[in-house]
Amino acid sequence: MTDPQIERKLIEIMRIINESDRPVGARIIADELRNRGYNLGERAVRYHLRILDERGFTEKHGYTGRSITSRGKEELEEALIGDRLDFVITRIEDLIYRTDYDPVKKQGNVIVNVSYVDKDDFEKTAGLMRSAVDYSISPRVGIFEEDSEDIFVPRGKVGIATVCSITFDGILLRHGIPVKPNFGGILSMENNEPVVFKDLISYRGTSIDPIKIFLMRHSTSVTGLLQSGSGTILANMRSIPQSAAGDAHLLFQQLHESDIGGLLAMDHESGNVLGAPVDIGMSGIVVSVGVNALAVVEEYGIDVNTRPVSTIMDYGTMKSL
């Protein structure tokens, strides 16, 4: 391993190349690096690019610039674990800042999860998702076919965007309420009411999204909940100052008129909310997550690949299933 400082610059250069859909030249890379707080001249960038070429992580296309190779993409996912430890929360924060949905004007961007299913499974998927709409955030979804220009959809698949619960964090923040997502977890429900979290994973201290972890473990039983009123769903928890709880309540009420819901509990008395720890002086807010609608589909046996907290999308373009 080379010096971590050099390694970090190499990774940052690869990230910049990876974010572009066409080959990128050294000058553009140097400019973007400066934006991100790395002072590296064009010549130094060229030097680093040669190292990346030698390692097989990037390739040169004549004078137009460089693109990333599949080995380079792999390296981006595996390298610098120390930096990626808080990667999940950092990426979420980026999306939180880009959320600008206005509950009064009823317009703006929301954060979405993107799930992929086989084209042939789509009709069945849509039906199952409709049945679980009460345990997601919004009945509105975005549907993307293979030729979509907004979202990459693999061949033979359909992309389904569902409203992500982190949208609330974005909206709370825009209204001046300091908020951070704390945990994702498995919440047990009885008589259609939330009871207690069975397991929690923090949004900090993990290199994999907590909700993705629970989805992969097949730990939900939303089907059971729909049939008998008892089961387990995915939910997440954030905390805000107690003094902001009133404002937050009002926002949740306003959002209801835009078909955005999913609030399960808001509590500040017992030091925990549904079993999840809450610091003194804070209120814990528990919200069901949008991908519960996809958890049902997986429970049914249909293959779903979900990327939680994926991107932002204009809520106005999303339609009820």
């Binding site: 996912e77 120390g82 069975k198 397991d199 900090r204 925990n272």
Partner: protein
């Protein structure tokens, strides 16, 4: 995990409890160790033991100690169900328990996936810290389709489960002597001991600390899973008297 008030318990506090209750004495070879409990179909026991032998010979298990439990046997608060068999194997956290009894406080940081290239550990590629989860990180990572323990066994390159703890450098010499004492009795799951204030497998450590990476006790079960054996593992289940356990070679 929940306590009586229904508040969830994070893995980090569960570990400290188990570390405190570990009583294994390396000299007298007496005392309790921390075990992982796996449940498999009784019909698969021959295959399970074969895989345990294979992984033990390849240095992919923490120790050769194990105990086979029949259906109806009770361990901790669990009874082995009908038609099933239970396999208790040493959990890597036993090492932290033994270090603690020797006066060395470790700080278990996280469980993760380590990339191995040509038999040598290269770096952690995914991690989950003990303070941030209520489910054992290695149990979690085992279910994410990101390990390739079988490939590692076949080709010498792949991704295996391991965990990291930090120790203050004041105890550096004692650590080495306790660790070699453990190796003498067959506990040889130590993957890497870092230098003070230096990264260990690409992970920075706290100031004046060094990192110790130990192979996860659940790697053999990860292989069995990859090979299609129906096996479920409860990591860090309970404690067990080492003298009530057998060694894997006793079965062959």
């Amino acid at each position: 995990m929940q306590d009586k008030r229904g508040v969830v318990q994070f893995t980090s506090s569960k570990i400290e409890d188990l570390m405190f209750r570990t009583t294994l004495d390396l000299k007298s070879m007496e005392g309790d160790i921390i075990v992982n409990l796996s449940i498999a179909d009784a019909d698969d026991i021959v295959d399970v033991l074969e895989f345990l032998k294979l992984t033990s010979n390849s240095g992919l298990s923490v120790s050769p100690f194990l105990k086979v439990l029949e259906s109806g046997d009770v361990i901790g608060d669990l009874t082995i169900p009908e038609g099933k068999v239970g396999i208790a194997t040493m959990c890597s956290m036993t090492i932290d328990g033994v270090l603690l009894k020797s006066g060395i406080m470790t700080n278990p940081k996280f469980g993760g996936v380590v990339q191995i290239r040509n038999g040598l550990p290269v770096r952690f590629t995914d991690v989950l810290t003990y303070t941030s989860t209520t489910i054992d990180p290695l149990e979690v990572l085992m279910s994410q389709d990101i390990t390739s323990v079988t490939r590692m066994l076949q080709t010498g390159s792949g991704k295996i489960l391991a965990n990291l703890r930090e120790v203050h450098l004041a105890k550096r010499d004692e650590i080495n002597s306790v660790l070699s004492g453990m190796m003498d009795i067959g506990i040889n799951g130590i993957l890497e001991v870092g230098d003070p204030n230096s990264r260990v497998l690409d992970v920075p450590v706290e100031r004046d600390h060094l990192g110790v990476v130990v192979i996860g006790g659940t790697n053999p079960m990860a292989i069995m899973k990859e090979q299609g054996i129906n096996i479920r593992t409860n990591a860090m289940s309970t404690l067990m008297d080492i003298n009530s356990m057998d060694k894997i070679e006793d079965f062959f």
